[in-house]
């Protein structure tokens, strides 16, 4: 089962977890599974059925947009990193 790293900006939406396990063999399926369990994530991750332009998803350290996007294959044991932009610096 792939592990999904939850960034601090999204933890409030998933009950505070830093990492979650999710079902799915593609990025789309994994995100779908997460949204089903944590509906507030929908607006943070997707826009018009596509990955929102202000969030990146990495599989094996590579941005899925440079691979097959939402169709990028995810294997058991893969780590997905969700990375929304964050601006804090002060």
């Amino acid at each position: 089962m792939p592990a999904v790293r939850i960034p601090p900006t999204l933890r409030a939406d998933v009950g505070g977890a830093r990492e979650l396990e999710a079902e799915g063999s593609t990025v789309a399926e994994v995100i779908e599974d997460l949204i089903e369990r944590y509906p507030p994530l929908a607006g943070q991750l997707l826009q018009d059925g596509e990955l929102a332009p202000f969030v990146n998803v990495y599989v094996g350290g590579e941005d899925v947009r440079t691979r097959d996007g939402l169709d990028t294959e995810v294997r058991n044991g893969d780590q997905l990193i969700l990375l929304p932009a964050m601006a804090g610096g002060s």
Binding site: R5, P7, P8, T9, R18, G43, Q44, A52, P53, F54, V55, N56, Y58, G61, E62, D63, T66, I81, L83, P84, A85, M86, A87, G88, G89, S90
Partner: protein, 390 residues
Amino acid sequence: MATYRELLAQVKTEIDEISSIEAHERLESSDGSIFVDVRESDEWDEGHIPGAIYTGRGRLEQRIEGLVPDKARPLVVYCSAGSRSAFSAKVLEELGYSNVVNLAGGFSDWKRNGFEVTMPRVLSPEQRARYSRHLLIPEVGEEGQQRLLDARVLLVGAGGLGSPASLYLAAAGVGTLGIVDADVVDESNLQRQVVHSTDRLGEPKVESAKRTLEALNPDVSVVPYQERLTSENVDRILSEGWDAIVDGADNFPTRYLVNDASVWHGIPVVHGSIFRFEGQVTLFHPGVGPCYRCLFPQPPPPELAPSCAEGGVLGVLPGIIGSIQANETLKHILHRGDSLAGRLLLFDALGTTLDEVVVRRNPDCPVCGDSPTITEYIDYVEFCNAPVHL
């Protein structure tokens, strides 16, 4: 037993010599000749032939093979009058250098002919003491330290990230630090903004930082900009000749403004951001790697951006991320090491883990891509109801 004069005369019959005029022709024609200065270091400090390498006669045998591994390379050896260098030329031939000439008349004759002289800039005795731990590292050394002293770095924000970054850059001897921040020191800053202190409450952050940094290192000059970076002032501030920008802003409008301006001005940005227990850090180097918009083409809509009020940050986190920013900045100035361009580091203070993801330049990037669609500054709306400070 031969006298010195007899020995010198003997050596001179065994080596080749050229005049200053011939040596000058070699320098002008860039024929690959290396000029080797074997005088004392204080003589070198008072001027030398342009491009010459310095070994000093005492360590010539020890050092020359490291400096000039190719023993067929033409060498022109000189001292002040041509005597010490005659003995040096002989030694170099004995070491197997096959194309060695002595400069007859030495540096004195070179100067008499009016040929150009390079005046090396030297560190003062105080600087030698202050930067001794840098001078001991081959990757920095005297040349690197001079680079740092000549460097100009602009810090956007004198807050959580700007504090450690500016302290380490100042301590390292980065000669000019520009700091942009409109804010004043508040009690709630002091849990992490270590460039300020309790006696500075209410003081403009740029003035407080200037006092701390210039007290830490008198070689550093701090240029304060007590203003918020906007589309109106960004060109004025960025056009003042910066080698790098350290982005420690705390809001999206400034982040995107810094990015777009840095791409158009061609200035690398050492980017750091923090939230609670996590930090991100990378280098955006225009023309070399991706920019911030390659990573995130546009900011999140205000209603989805994390609320500033509920943010919070572990005090030491900006210390770690800001120090990595200082490290990247120093490497960039020194031209050393592997930069973070194209790599985004993700630090998790709770797990104490460091992950790395790849960031590629996006050919469709609206700012640094092949056909940019953004060509002027965008003033994004504020993201918090509370006033946004750098």
